[in-house]
Symmetry: C2
Subunit: 371 residues, 2 copies
Amino acid sequence: MSPWKAARPDDLVSAIDTPALVLDLDAFERNLQRMADALKGHPVQLRAHAKSHKCPEIARRQIALGAVGLCCQKVSEAAVFVDAGIDDVLLTNQVVGTTKLMHLAQLARRARMGVLVDDPLQVMALADVARSQGVSIDVYVEIDVGGRRCGVMPGAAAARLARLIADHAPLRFAGLQCYHGPAQHKRTLAEREQAIAQASDAARLSRSLIEAEGLKVERITGAGTGTFLLERDSGVFNEIQAGSYIFMDRDYGDNQLGAEDVRFEHALFVRTAVLSRTQPTRAVLDAGLKASSIDSGMPTIWQRPEFKYVKAADDHGVLEVPSTSSLALGDALMLVPGHCDPTVNLYDELVCIRGDRVEAIWPIAARGALL
Amino acid sequence: MSPWKAARPDDLVSAIDTPALVLDLDAFERNLQRMADALKGHPVQLRAHAKSHKCPEIARRQIALGAVGLCCQKVSEAAVFVDAGIDDVLLTNQVVGTTKLMHLAQLARRARMGVLVDDPLQVMALADVARSQGVSIDVYVEIDVGGRRCGVMPGAAAARLARLIADHAPLRFAGLQCYHGPAQHKRTLAEREQAIAQASDAARLSRSLIEAEGLKVERITGAGTGTFLLERDSGVFNEIQAGSYIFMDRDYGDNQLGAEDVRFEHALFVRTAVLSRTQPTRAVLDAGLKASSIDSGMPTIWQRPEFKYVKAADDHGVLEVPSTSSLALGDALMLVPGHCDPTVNLYDELVCIRGDRVEAIWPIAARGALL
């Protein structure tokens, strides 16, 4: 990591070194509140996804506003949050291998831990480690509700796995994971509605077969920033796993919202500066693909729609600008990243600003926690 | 970062936790030697690009085999290597802004530091900081030899900048940066030859005009892993900035080599394991785009051409496999990353293996050094 920091509290925003990952606290806090408001009075709870931020300071604020716990993707990511005092984490993943399972069991001594399964072998391995370590683990059956990634098909296969879990104390059958990933970025509301209607049907069918086994389906969890109102109103989901809503990114911003959809604001930016300006229609920025992940497309330039980020190299971003632009060497711009999660994962710290001042520096403590 | 490590020295390779960044030391050492052999007896020297590895242990081995120094992209990246004892670093970038310039000047007290310019304003700012800090800095004029990114046009503009540098002691006009980025991945040798012939013409023209000013052009530096033999044999370049040759990646592997081209081996891998296996033709890996950068396309599966990595999410990789495959939950595979540089930047450590054992763990000390 860099031997020095991009900024310190009380610095002027204009003095932040570049590139730096910047969180606009006013916009972030409004996003937090909008999510809390959207779920208030509905039979669903927020289990915020921490893979987006990897930051305990943010997790604490989500929980203070009503989140029942966190989702994490990796055992080591979960460990960072448990170390920071979070006591309820669902790993929205299968966990395979004795090393990982042992770490999971050790976390289950200190926090309520949940995990997904989509194979009987995973259940048996979880049962072995839970018994040997004397811990209880919440186990969820992952249903493939349309993502075509992990998960068993809805219905009988889900019921068989639920029964297997229930028969293997100290495992605890906790419910169903019904996350539809591809639905999050379908651009029209009609497409998202169709996808989540199918996901809800899959959840309902699976629940009814599991209840016919005499088992309780305590939680049906899923949803993301792109679709969570649909799961909220589905009558079957009771937990929402949104993560990106706190930051937003260019890709989510490209979704066409319906009249009822919640308008989250861009709160996460990459502050960058012009390092080369040799041609009238070109500027080169000091933020390339190591500063703003391009897996979901290029960033846009905040409040400067006339500038177009057209190419990213490791450490250069090429901008097309109008030939009349006065953009000059050293001028700073704010990128709206194409995809917030992997962009956050490139940084060790969030530079939190309010107005024209740096208010705080928050460690991205689970950055790089891949195991 | 993860609270625990993926491996320790003397572990079996089969025990490495996943995903982990793995360096095959035998292949790596052969790559180091191949580059040294390819330059031996030619009027060019290697200035290895450290943005690929960000690892002092690797830099020391490059210098032990004859590299005259390193290239870095960022001042903070250079600082990590100077702190590790490297005493000659060229920043292959313009450096803009007083904070960055002050850090550069402080490094110039401890190491020979070079930097690029493509604008008179950069020269004046460098001269100011060098004078105020009492240091000398090598300054190179960057020529746009075809990359259409940074750099002045070949010829008169380059000569004017060189004169300006020479007139501003304690700056030292050191030569020309003539790197052709897009040429590195042109798939056919004929395309690469054409691009580097143009780059060499641009370098030659600029040199002759600068020499007509009575200035010495000590170094003409550029080239990458895809084209370095062409620059070596150009009669005008005397420094080679290759970086990826030590690792190779899928994108470089896709270049069609000529009969004379050096065959570097894939030495860098992402070790990953199967976490879900619900469909005969699908497996899901625990390495997604936070474990293997997809900016230059998907990874391939080492020595398993029948498996196709078709989709990367943050922490999942979806693999298409033949329906007859016996690939099972927990099975480990090695990915060949699409692009080595940003993949290395996702990890804190390289797990160095030889045969079936872990030999060493090398810190990726400049990971995330973006400033």
